[in-house]
Symmetry: C2
Subunit: 377 residues, 2 copies
């Protein structure tokens, strides 16, 4: 029941879209590869994915009994807490976009159309985990609004999450597509991995700064953030009738891109411009979060690591965070995270080119990977 170390992609959803489209990118070293890296292309892909899945998603939510439906509608931003219609901010639909874009890349427009139900299922799973994570982490804000548990209570938020998981797997079970059973098995296995990631995350926050290894925090981030991005790509491949090897390759692409995202998000959590990120400067450090750059710094074996550990041993007293920021930097936390993010993106591109050698076909996925890792530093 601690604050989460992992900034999920949903947190990115909370930042104004402009901050994601501008600024420096860790993926610039891949710009020599073919494929459009235009943020506008990614935005168009995301909007199209949202438009494709929304009817399926809304029909699924409407099938819920009243009590669960109400919470789901609120959570998706379709309704206010009092049940009146809301403008709606259901998130950026990154995962459904990965399903649909992978299906299109490997199987053309027909495969994309066939994969809409699977894309909605992935989005339902993502939102089930958000509902539960917010209860566990006691997070009070999601997509600029009070979280469901703060409005409806823990019990109803947990039950609504349970119902969304069931709904996701029902969508696939009712899908006559020949890939639906394999997709359901893969998505269910991914849910277990997401649970493992969240468990590791909360457990880690309860431990001392010297007790967490870099391997652990990387494994946690992969399970909590990378797994569902990888699974989304794999489901797209399955619906395109791709080979098992190609499904694994795009899964690895999604995982690596997800880890790159997490690394950059953690860097921004320390060195980001508050006016652009919408977060107060150093908020992660004030909360003593064991983010990736922090753990890299703590385990660096440098004098600055000792200094940082001493700072992290005591709760934040409201004072100047600059010495903490500097300690992470001097211990190499920032350089390590940026280097890792570049490595992960390079690996992601490698995996992608294995599954989809045609740069034009791979363009949409490259644009999405670029989008989730292009951040204002």
């Amino acid at each position: 029941m601690t604050e989460s170390t992992t900034a999920s992609l949903a947190e990115a959803d909370q930042r104004p879209a402009g901050t994601l489209e501008r600024g420096s990118s860790i993926a610039t070293d891949t710009d020599s590869r073919p494929g459009p890296f235009d943020g506008h292309e990614a935005v168009a892909i995301l909007e199209r994915a949202r438009a494709s899945i929304d009817p399926e998603l809304r029909a699924a939510i409407e099938s819920l009994p009243g009590s669960m439906r109400r919470i789901a509608r609120y959570h998706f931003g379709w309704e206010h807490a009092d049940g009146t219609p809301a403008a709606g901010n259901a998130g950026k639909a990154i995962r459904p976009a990965l399903v649909l874009t992978t299906a299109a890349a490997l199987g053309g427009p027909g495969a994309r159309a066939a994969a809409v139900r699977a894309a909605a299922a992935v989005e339902l799973v993502h939102n089930f985990t958000l509902l539960h994570d917010d209860v566990m982490d006691r997070d009070t804000t999601r997509r600029h609004r009070p979280t469901a548990w703060t409005v409806f209570g823990d019990t109803d938020a947990i039950l609504a999450g349970d119902a969304l998981q069931a709904l996701a797997l029902r969508l696939l079970a009712e899908d006559p597509h020949p890939a639906s059973a394999a997709a359901a098995a893969r998505l269910a296995a991914c849910v277990v991995e997401l649970c493992e990631g969240q468990q590791a995350d909360t457990a880690m926050e309860g431990r001392g700064p010297a007790e967490v290894t870099l391997g652990e925090v990387l494994a946690m981030a992969e399970a909590k953030t990378g797994a569902l991005l990888g699974c989304a790509c794999a489901l797209g491949a399955l619906y395109a009738g791709a080979s098992a090897a190609d499904a694994e390759a795009v899964d690895a692409f999604g995982r690596e891109a997800g880890l790159a995202f997490q690394l950059i998000d953690d860097v921004i959590g320390i060195w980001g411009d508050p006016s652009r990120t919408g977060k107060p400067a150093g908020a992660d450090l004030a909360a003593r979060k064991k983010s990736l750059p922090v753990v890299a710094a703590l385990t660096s074996g440098t004098p600055a690591a000792v200094e940082l550990a001493e700072l992290y041993e005591v709760p934040y007293d409201g004072g100047d965070l600059e010495p903490t920021v500097l300690a992470v930097e001097r211990a190499g936390g920032r350089d390590w995270a940026q280097g890792q993010a570049s490595d992960r993106m390079a690996r992601a591109m490698q995996k992608l080119s294995r599954a989809i050698p045609d740069p034009e076909a791979a363009g949409g996925l490259l644009a999405l990977a670029e989008f989730v890792t292009r951040r204002t530093s």
Copy 2:
């Protein structure tokens, strides 16, 4: 986050087996129908079901990552909290027995053997709901042991429940049986109904004694207790290749038997012999639970109803519960509940004979229905 009104079948699991096998039965009025009503037959069916599903169940749990596996093993009674092996009390396996017995009745031994994975999936879903319900209801004891959340914390208990739901649906997604997709869709829909029942239950406990209708509490009990028993039977029918009409009929049989169970359980909660039930006399009344006989009494329009409502308006002060017991009785709560239970069992038998006219084939299901509703008054 209130105490649950609904005594789940798992609470019956907590009573010594002997109390369930002896004593008067509400099903005696159906004894003229053919079919064995020997409690020993039911016990044998349950033991055989447990033996059939255990390898599948254990293999599924072993596939979980370490953190989740540990909680699941504890919850199933296979391990102590410290990870050392335990004698194991994973419950009576009533739901898996309903799957397997229905499959055998409609499709013979081959169908029973084919349905083992589906039976394990139903048991996983049941245990996912127990893990979550215990967190929400703050129940501290399950099957004579501290509940998982009291040992591992809320977060880990919620995550282990999430993982068990995913595991259940993965088992079906990976099952090559032609009925597995329909079974998965049905089980997922049932999960939503279970959530609805739990939501209604907790919401009802927060309301005043005059604000709950009999229709509401019956619908809640059907969703929370009847739905999964009905679904278990329906899955057995699907795996036997039975018609949609037969699947609906055995689903209705399970639901009605489940409601009969709940009614009798609620009667025992007020008038049961504490030495046989293992619960203190009047515990449900002391907790001001809105059980079925209580709501029947409150809504009876009798002078005793007014009296009972006044007693229920104030928290129990530790005094004599006899006036409360008598008010429920005088308002007709006991008679109504016993009459309803008999009606439900009669309806259950009717539904069953529609799907399985051969009394010998239906014998196992009759024995199970008798078992869950044969209780010491």
